[in-house]
């Protein structure tokens, strides 16, 4: 059974009489300014921010799983990123894409309204979505960021620790990925 394409039609409904915004299959949503959310995340602490993000990711995973059905376990790379990226776009977190560097899985988000301050929140969203869809505990590590793009490496607990250490030592994220493949990371 083939996985259906992502269809955003009628995904968001505005009930102006009741004063609510509804996301299909998810219930009411809030439209909040990103700067206020960033300030809240800064003062919430790392664990609270990670819990908040994982909840958002779990919600995204659930919706994707509802769209896939049982065939979602064998979904292809292009199909997965199509649905994940579509759902993140409905939430207003930017446009997500996927890069594969060897065996390393890298998510790229472009045009996030939260900026660099919202990168830990995005990382927690990816961890929650993967937990909900794939049932795997993964860590999203920020490899690098430029003006409009941010890259997240999906790795295990050990691998994430090694990459953070390499980046903290001053290595470029490419070299860190290469080192992670060679197994020579510190």
């Amino acid at each position: 059974m083939a996985v259906p394409r992502f269809d955003p039609s009628h995904s968001v409904k505005f009930d102006l009489g009741r004063g609510s915004v509804h996301l299909e299959g998810a219930g009411p949503r809030l439209l909040v300014p990103p700067d206020a959310l960033v300030d809240l995340c800064r003062h919430a602490g790392q664990e609270s921010l990670a819990d908040f993000g994982r909840k958002l990711g779990t919600e995204v995973g659930r919706r994707i799983g509802e769209q896939w059905g049982d065939a979602g376990q064998n979904i292809g790379v292009e199909g997965f990123i199509e649905h994940l990226g579509g759902n993140l776009a409905l939430l207003g977190f930017g446009s997500a894409s996927l890069e594969r560097w060897g065996r390393a899985l890298v998510f790229v988000v472009e045009g996030s309204p939260l900026g660099a301050a919202g990168d830990p929140l995005l990382a927690a969203i990816f961890e929650g979505a993967l937990q909900r869809l794939m049932g795997r505990d993964a860590r999203a590590v920020v490899l690098g960021r430029d003006a409009d793009h941010v890259r997240f490496l999906i790795a295990g607990e050990k691998g994430a620790s090694k990459v953070r250490a390499l980046l903290a030592s001053g290595k470029a994220w490419g070299d860190a990925l290469a080192a992670l493949h060679e197994g020579g990371a510190a």
Binding site: Q73, N74, I75, G76, V77, G79, F80, I81, R100, W101, G102, R103, A104, L105, L130, M134, R136, A138, L153, I154, A155, G156, E157, K158, G159, A160, S161, K162, V163, L177, A178, L180, H181, E182, G183, A185
Partner: protein, 301 residues
Amino acid sequence: MISPQDQIAKLERLLERVKSNAGRARVAVSATPVKAAAPSLPEPMLEPIPEPVLETEPPPPAAVAQPVVAEIPAPEVEEETSMVRAIPVDADEEVSVEMGEASIEDVDLLEDEIVDITDATAEEAPTAVIEEPPSSSRRAIAGTMDEALSGAAESVEMDEGREIPLKTPPPESGPQAAPLPAQALQPPPTPDLDELGQPELVSGTQPTAAQLGSTIDLPTGSETELELGEPVAEAPPVHLVREEPLRVAPPPPAEPVRPQVHARPPLAPATPPSAFASAARSFQPQSFRELLEASLRLGSD
């Protein structure tokens, strides 16, 4: 008032009488008007001529022989010349011809008293009225021929004691066309260069007469090319040397700017550029889960 026909008749008679008297005269004086003749001739010193009594009675034509007149050109009216000459005429024979206001008198005079007035003053004759000589020099008009001869003799005796200036040219000479100076109208002769030899400088500033007006054709040179020797490098005079602005030769056209390229040495084919690249080529996940599991294992070994 005399009619023109009468005047013409009188003039004709006068002419005949003149011709007849000329035959008896020793020399016939021609009154050829010469205007441009002999500018170098000395002007005759004219002396007032005793004015004869003019009467209108013409002379008898048969009484005189026909004179031999040497080609008297018919004078033009504007160049009419008055002349007086000695003509032996009888004492009682007087001829007077009136020509308008002027008159020609034909009287008997001595040879010394022959005055030729056909000179440059002839231009004044046609229209000018014969002026009367001053009263001081006026002589009494002789009534007869004897009185005239005696008066003339007295005047000769009076003039013997003093130097008589030359009044008129001798009758033989008469008024003649003065020959033009041959040298004045002819170009100067071309000097013979062979005879001249070395030029002789007469004056440092003015050319000689022989050098004026003559053109000497120099022989044309051969058409062979001249072989010029190398110019001798001589320093120009100090006053001719001036400082000219420094002329910088225009730079040659600029070549396009090209970087100095240091080529990177080629890599040895046996050396793999990166293990990562080889791993990327070898791993081809079939599903997202396979990719996720491989990525989760990174760094766990």
